[in-house]
Symmetry: C2
Subunit: 242 residues, 2 copies
DNA sequence: TAGGAATTGTGTACAAATTACACGACTGCG
DNA sequence: CGCAGTCGTGTAATTTGTACACAATTCCTA
């Protein structure tokens, strides 16, 4: 940043006036929370209560507080709005088109989160919060559809090399469930034998001595993530491994 | 964003008071400008003229203006500070630790840029601006060292699949130059025969009927990027292909 | 002008990963 | 008891990755 810009910044701070020139851009975070249910990838949305977006759905977000790190804000949002703690979160990008927000200039930083819908029953049962299938998404508020799209792209890339996908599954799962999940995320069908071979190659999983017991067909073996394997990405965008 | 937060936002806007609660986070952009010279990857830095960082180097950056898109700001910064136009720029991530800026709360969005040092002679010869080798980088202002590190990681991934690397080279170049550049970015040596095979496979280049004429050894063939091939990444982080 | 230094241009053998593809066995259910 | 749905498994063909060597060209210098 230039010295000139900084001087103005300091002046504005010390005099507590004229903030309009340098502080009238608000910054928010928005969370793209993915879940997996009934063989579909879903995203958690909230009914927008903003007039301009009456009846449209939007991401969970909030303004960043003056005394919190940017990367901490989405954790707070998730905790406050859904009761979710200890979730996988990763910064994806920032969106700041001039007119993206009807009420003023707001730049938002988007994060994506992966949670297991069954484990993390929403504790704060705000009945305006719902899981939506990624198909047929429409009428989203702001630029939230675009944000979801970018997060989905990131997710698709990340599941190929890093064991983040297991954040979407229960502790024990079958290879079929895992394959269904990959297929839902990638939007393509995978060959079953090749898929199993590839997963075996990655050495992420331990085979259990248990079988599925809730399926209307021959049950498959259950697996769990290897003890000690972090289900987070190895490198966070901000360089900080949680 | 919640309705509650938005109401506060609107109140703050209409009354033009109390901005301190919602608008006292400033937002900036910082550019990590990579160049290639003498077989080394370099980054363009400016002497920080901020007291707290006397004699330290920093990235080129500026506060985002109220009437410019976030993604437009780094183009402006480059134009104003170096005279560079029409360069490759890509958003990498946002950095917002509470205390990252000594003068106040500033969240910054980092972009990386690839330019050809020779073609783009810095038009604004601000003698505080210099190219630095990526080795021996130290004493950078703010969190700029970390930002550069994250941008470098992004660059390393991106050059494997997308033809962005050619932004760093002149129009005509030899395969040796290209290999030297890959090696400088990746920090490893590559096998020459395998490298050439791999590049050929990508079909990014056209072979010219010209040879190098400025080397103290047997000259190699010159190549150029295939006509029509965009040297940008296929997908920008914000989903917008420039 | 001959020899040395540096680099060009080229191919093959082996290992590893990717893809396409089929069948018998098991379980629940009607 | 038979059908529907899924499990568990292997091989052959192809593509990709890796390791590795030698003769030819050009410049430079002694």
């Amino acid at each position: 940043m230039t010295a000139e810009a900084l001087k103005k910044l300091k002046t504005a701070e010390s005099e507590k006036i004229s903030h309009i020139d340098y502080f009238n851009i608000a910054i928010s975070v928005d969370c793209v929370i993915f879940g997996f249910e009934k063989k579909e990838l879903r995203v958690l949305l909230i009914k927008s209560d903003l007039e301009e977006f009456a009846d449209k759905w939007s991401l969970l977000g909030d303004l960043v507080k003056i005394d919190e790190d940017l990367d901490s804000a989405p954790y707070r949002v998730l905790r406050q709005r859904t009761g979710l703690e200890d979730v996988f979160l990763q910064q994806v990008g920032s969106f700041g088109a001039i007119n993206r927000h009807p009420s003023g200039r707001v730049i938002t930083t988007a994060y994506y989160s992966l949670i297991n819908i069954r484990n993390h029953k929403l504790k704060i049962t705000d009945n305006e919060v719902h899981w939506h299938s990624l198909k047929n998404l429409k009428d989203l508020a702001f630029d939230h559809k675009q944000i979801i799209e970018v997060c989905l792209q990131r997710l698709r890339i990340q599941i190929m090399d890093e064991p983040v996908i297991f954040n979407l599954l229960p502790e024990k799962f079958s290879l079929r469930e895992l394959q269904d999940l990959y297929q839902a995320i990638l939007g393509i069908k995978l060959d079953r034998r090749n898929f199993r071979k590839k997963i075996a190659l990655k050495k992420w999983l331990d085979e259990l001595d248990e079988m599925e017991d809730d399926v209307p067909h021959r049950p498959g073996k259950l697996y769990k993530v290897k003890t000690g394997l972090k289900k987070n990405a190895l490198v966070e965008i901000a360089g900080k491994t949680k």
